[in-house]
Point group: C2
Chain length 344, copies 2
DNA sequence: AGACGTTCTTAGATCGTTCTAGTGACAATA
DNA sequence: TATTGTCACTAGAACGATCTAAGAACGTCT
């Protein structure tokens, strides 16, 4: 048979079980008000017919889809780590996740509208690039939670990681290792890049150090280019905008015959899969994707089920020290020198 | 106002424009049967009220969602390249894409059912791991297209890349460079791994060479481990299961002080983003994600809109030679030797 | 026996669309 | 003038679920 068989509906099940539609509905959604015997009868019939409730019809009537819309950027592996964690958390709370990717030629607004069309009860956006105005407009239709970005106005929830704290940890870590010439390869126009750049400047100044920032971006090639630029005047430590950039930077150092961390220390950001690869072992500032995602799902569900106002959750990241950061060479010799009596 | 405003519906627009629901419906879906003047009136009213049709209701009635379900594995960057291309193609054909990820703790069946619940008219599965039986069962409900895997029974469409041809190209390329000791680091239990392993054996034998295969897997760590195993008896060329594995292999060679491609040639598979990174420049067998995705979307739409039977499309991959393959050293000296008069 | 309270069950309205089968109006044809 | 045809428009029934309100059935208490 080539033709697609008609979908089995409540009515079919009701017929088979010899009861009314309404009773089947009650049983299917586990509502109270059905005797154990008829419950069994109905479940059996549903099972036999392979019945699956039609979520469109269900939603149309009840305006509940138990669906959370999640938009992410397909080119950012770190985003997919958040996606994974969000799935787990949502499913634990009895929600499904509808995914929509932001890709080349597919702006965030398209992604958002696709998610709304499909019936999402709340929207989670990873590092949204929409203007606060646009976000606010969408937030009128459905609760919205922004991940990794917190300047989203007061109608939109946000769950983000404290970029200032993260950069502070990074700088503290490196200075405590003895580094003084530290460069930040920034994220260019990426979300959070401004905050991290500002945080870097502030933190370096507070250590009495010169904050040198070079232009970078969110991926390997950006890091590679920035690394080449630094060739002529190499610092002893580099704080990258993220792990991918850090990989590019490390590669440029390798090409220049420099060893990490012996000659130069490199610190990433995100603590993504890359960082954990056994041959990379990148020291990195972890935003903990899983916790971030879980918090965002919690927020979304709270907003859907309660009447709480939007809130802004900021998590403090933590530092994961692996094998790409160490004391600078000159520092070691300087320390050695310090052990000697000072000859004026 | 904290409360969520009620959705604007056809009725609201009809009121505002002073016409009937039905006419608004006609205008909104661009159907013939409305005068230009009232068309304008309705569009204006819809615009003013910010009306967006409710796809659930629309679908419920018309059983058309113009939605294609696409499942992918969140941990495979190559899959997200396909996702990107599928979005572009689908949107060109007037379809939206519903995404569902296969992740840790989220089996493919969950992903598939989520896509069905949301109203997908056809399903595209990237490298499905479901049994042929299960696939066939789902295919009874909705057209299904398998990507990158072709042994899916005759009820399911498939769009795949010819693994035999791909491996043949790989082996031919390396042998023509002069390699004779070529090892395949396989994909373990991954989809397509069997075919590539078999193809490798067949092709090597047809060249009169010994087919040596070592156990690997689909990611960097797998490649790394396999590379270490090879240390004791290093071939002159390695064909990896995919690019990620190739990266791990290269890393293991680097660690052992071997240079690619000077000491050992390494060939990847997929021609993914990784391969194209300027500091990697991996030679690789390209399956051309964009074309594969486009073909799969075409198939799905054909199945939805026509009554064609399932078919199996097999595309021939092509080789992209970059900087990780070259003639082996000993071969060069052998060639040099060949130039000399043979001393018996 | 009748009134009453539970518990189980059902009819019918409803959600926001699309679709079928009309109704009117107006021009063209006989 | 009556008939036919076209075109713009509309009323009302779907679609497959949920939900409300009300009807059976049954036991318990006066």
């Amino acid at each position: 048979m080539t033709e697609q068989q008609r979908r089995t509906t409540l009515i079919d099940v009701a017929h088979a079980a010899g009861v009314s539609r309404a009773l089947v509905s009650i049983v299917m959604r586990g509502a109270p008000g059905a005797s154990e015997s008829s419950r069994q009868k109905v479940l059996q019939a549903a099972q036999d017919l392979g019945y699956r409730p039609d979520s469109r019809a269900r939603l149309l009537r009840s305006s509940r889809t138990r669906l959370l819309g999640l938009s992410f950027s397909s080119s950012q592996p770190f985003h997919t780590e958040i996606v994974d964690a969000a799935y787990a958390k949502a499913s634990a709370k009895g929600y499904e996740i509808a995914l929509s990717a932001v890709a080349n030629g597919r702006p965030e607004s398209r992604a958002v509208e696709a998610l709304l069309d499909v019936g999402s009860e709340a929207l989670l956006l990873i590092a949204p690039t929409l203007s606060t105005q646009e976000l606010t407009r969408y937030a009128g239709q459905v609760p919205m939670v922004s991940l990794l970005r917190d300047d989203v106005g007061d109608r939109v929830d946000s769950v983000s990681s404290d970029n200032y704290a993260g950069i502070r940890m990074a700088v503290d870590h490196l200075t405590s290792l003895g580094h003084r010439r530290i460069v930040h390869v920034d994220g260019g126009t990426a979300v959070s890049a401004d905050q991290r750049r500002a945080a870097f400047s502030a933190e370096m100044l507070s250590h009495g150090l010169a904050p040198v920032t070079v232009h970078g971006g969110p991926n390997e090639e950006d890091g590679l280019k920035a690394g080449r630029l630094l060739q002529s005047d190499m610092p002893t430590a580099i704080i990258a905008f993220n792990d991918r950039s850090a990989l590019g930077i490390i590669e440029s150092l390798r090409a220049a015959g420099l060893q990490v961390p012996f000659d130069v220390s490199v610190l990433g950001y995100d603590d993504s899969q890359f960082a954990r690869l056994s041959y990379v072992q990148l020291s990195s500032v972890s935003q903990d994707a899983a916790l971030l995602a879980a918090a965002a799902v919690d927020r979304a569900v709270d907003r859907i089920e309660g009447t709480q106002p939007p809130s802004h959750v900021v998590r403090t990241p933590h530092l994961v020290v692996r094998n790409t950061t160490a004391s600078p060479r000159f520092q070691q010799s300087a320390e050695a020198a310090a052990l000697l009596p000072t000859k004026v």
